[in-house]
């Protein structure tokens, strides 16, 4: 035996991947769902490992702190009342998961739509072969919701809640949504928790022609949590995936959102706001594939960073040769409220069609001294003036939210964040 132990981030990531695979090997006979798919994912993870610093898509986000934590399997336990009380009061049926396990006693069955739980909902849309965190999810996922909305039905609002209770548990919920043609659903996707844990959810959404999925997310995980989520949407002709994601919590977060505009006149809105403080790190990464003519994508991503926090935005827009008349817009803006905060922004446009309209922009700055003085000269105290300007900065990303209760929940979460951070 050599006396030199391997070290460095790659070794730590390899060791973490090996530990996850070992956990799979030890528990695989008890895991529900398709064992074949799981086994394939385990082989993939064993050979490819976890995303590392040498990968272009992970240049700004290091999983090393995550690799250095040993996560254990999550047992089925009741959620503490204090966490249940943090679920925003929003009318509509709820699906509540605690440490990745579905809790029917906390949940309500929506009318007209079909929901199955108790095993991972793998969905059926094709995904890229190189996904590593999704392989981890596939290998270890124990539960999830398969949500099916029949053609033409406006299913209203469904609240999907994930509660993480801490204790270094790792959980990997797997959800799949299918909206048949002309169907409508607003999914309020809320992740809350306390303490240290890993939440690695994967959600796939298949949106058939003329259907609309409105996906509004609040990530307000515990301060020691790791939130690594991946979302795929496949958007058919004249269908819309309309999303907004608010990131407030977790020690290390990455939301990866893939939108595939597969049919003519399909549209995707991938708006987001990341509000970070302390030593938080949050990464919003999007991949939009325009794969049909007359498709549109809109991304307005706002970051407000305090303390020593670090925000990352990576936005890739891929326009296929067939996707003429594509309309793509991407804007990433960061407000740095401290000297030590940092924003990394990477737009990436790959355009193979010749008749398209694609624009992108990125700005990083502090609060505007002229605006601050203007407000104060009118009698608005400095702290209130700063709060007003931060709100104003976020409004462009928040204003497209037409769901009043969701908007109110977002505003309340932002206010609480500001009280705590300002």
């Amino acid at each position: 035996m050599s006396g030199i132990a391997p070290s460095g981030p790659v070794a730590a990531l390899n060791a973490a991947a090996a530990a996850f695979v070992a956990r799979y090997q030890a528990t695989k006979t008890t895991l529900p769902g398709d064992s074949h798919v799981r086994a394939e994912a385990a082989i993939m993870l064993a050979s490819n490992g976890l995303p590392g610093p040498r990968e272009e898509a992970w240049r700004y986000t290091s999983l090393r702190p995550f690799a250095e934590t040993a996560f254990i399997s999550a047992a089925r336990i009741d959620a503490p009342a204090a966490l249940l009380a943090r679920i925003p009061a929003i009318a509509g049926p709820r699906l509540v998961f605690v440490d990745g396990h579905f809790h029917s006693e906390l949940s309500g069955v929506p009318k007209g739509i079909h929901v199955t739980t108790g095993k991972p909902a793998l969905g059926r849309i094709t995904r890229p072969a190189d996904e590593k965190l999704v392989a981890l999810n596939t290998m270890l996922s124990e539960d999830g919701a398969a949500i099916h909305v029949p053609a033409g039905l406006d299913a209203g609002t469904l609240v999907l809640v994930s509660i993480g209770t801490g204790h270094s548990v790792g959980f990997h919920p797997r959800h799949a949504i299918i909206l048949e043609s002309g169907a409508k659903l607003t999914l309020l996707d809320i992740a809350i928790g306390d303490g240290e844990y890993l939440h690695n959810p994967v959600l796939t959404a298949e949106i058939a022609s003329g259907a609309t999925l409105t996906h509004l997310r609040i990530q307000d995980e515990g301060a020691g949590a790791f939130h690594l989520s991946t979302t795929y949407s496949e958007i058919a002709e004249a269908a819309t995936y309309d999303s907004f994601a608010l990131t407030l919590g977790a020690r290390l977060a990455r939301m990866e959102v893939h939108a595939h505009l597969a049919g003519e006149k399909a549209a995707a809105h991938l708006n987001a706001a990341q509000l970070l403080g302390g030593s938080q790190h949050a990464d919003f990464t999007t991949v939009v594939r325009h794969n049909a003519p007359n498709t549109a994508s809109r991304q307005t991503v706002k970051n407000v960073l305090t303390g020593k926090s670090r925000g990352v935005f990576q936005g890739k827009i891929d326009v296929a040769r067939i996707a003429q008349k594509t309309d793509g817009y991407q804007m990433n803006q960061a407000l740095l409220l401290s000297r030590d905060a940092e924003m990394d922004s990477k737009p990436q446009l790959q355009i193979y069609a010749d008749d398209v309209k694609c624009s992108h922009g990125a700005t990083v700055g502090a609060l505007d001294a002229n605006q601050l003085f203007y407000l104060r000269s009118r009698g608005v105290p400095e702290a209130e003036a700063r709060a007003m300007l931060v709100r104003a900065f976020l409004s462009e990303a928040l204003d497209p939210i037409t769901h009043d209760e969701a908007r109110a929940a977002m505003e309340a979460a932002i206010s609480a964040w500001w009280e705590h951070s300002a």
Partner: protein
């Protein structure tokens, strides 16, 4: 109302105000005229408390209280208002909300009851109408997409709603056509009375045809070099600043 004695100020180590003496009694409107670079805008910023200006000498009191030691928002709550030469755009801030927040912040600071949305809108709409402003200007973002004239009218609207004891109008006439100038002047004149004082800073005499001042002061190189009645403005228009500056030298 406003008493300035020997006021000196600099920015980035460069002296701009070089010993200003000025008294504006209650109920009076004074004009400050002067060539570009004489220190007119600096005076307005120093009085309203903008950061970046260092007061190196002298005093300024407002209603008997030291003005220079308090924050801009406190100066506003005590009744000081600056109409900006270049009103600032606030994207994402609704004009009505902005004005209501400002009014209620001032009222709170003075220990007065705040206005609710209905009371406020009634007041703001009435004032907007007097200034020939369409109602939708209250719904738009503050100064965003406003024409030059609309921005200046919006400043006067804020002044009319906030009801200051002393208003400093910094080149409110710049960029205005004659119709807009008249509307703005009428707005200021409507506030005139025994409890309202104003300092009207301008380069040209034409605004003073509409807002007739009680006193006119000429500012040059950071000092007031000549004071007189409204006729001084006409003399300046006829002879230019050079004649007055030469005469004072």
């Amino acid at each position: 109302m406003l008493q300035i004695k020997g006021l000196m100020a600099e920015i980035d180590g460069k002296t701009i105000l070089n010993g200003i003496d000025l008294i504006v009694p209650k109920g009076e409107v004074h004009a400050i005229m002067g060539p570009n670079g004489s220190g007119k805008s600096t005076l307005s910023y120093v009085l309203s408390g903008r950061e970046g200006y260092e007061v190196t000498g002298g005093t300024a009191t407002f209603d008997g209280h030291d003005l220079l030691s308090i924050e801009p928002e406190e100066r506003a709550a005590r009744g000081l208002f600056l109409a900006f030469q270049y009103p600032v755009e606030l994207p994402g801030v609704n004009n009505a909300n902005f004005l209501r927040t400002a009014l209620n912040a001032q009222r709170r600071a003075r220990g007065e009851a705040e206005l609710d949305a209905v009371q406020f809108l009634k007041l703001a709409r009435a004032q907007a109408k007097l200034l020939s402003m369409p109602d939708d200007m209250l719904k738009r973002n503050v100064n965003v997409g406003f024409s030059g004239g609309e921005k200046k009218r919006n400043e006067v609207l804020q002044m009319a709603v906030l009801r200051p004891k002393l208003a400093i109008l910094d080149e409110t006439d710049s960029g205005l056509d004659i119709d807009a100038l008249k509307i703005v002047a009428d707005g200021v004149n409507a506030l005139r009375g025994p409890d309202f004082s104003a300092v009207v800073i301008t380069h040209y005499q034409r605004l003073l045809d509409h807002i007739v001042p009680d006193r006119v002061h000429v500012l040059s190189q950071g000092r007031i070099i000549k004071s007189g009645g409204p006729e001084l403005a006409h003399a300046l228009e006829a002879g230019g600043y050079a004649s007055v500056i030469l005469e004072a030298a």
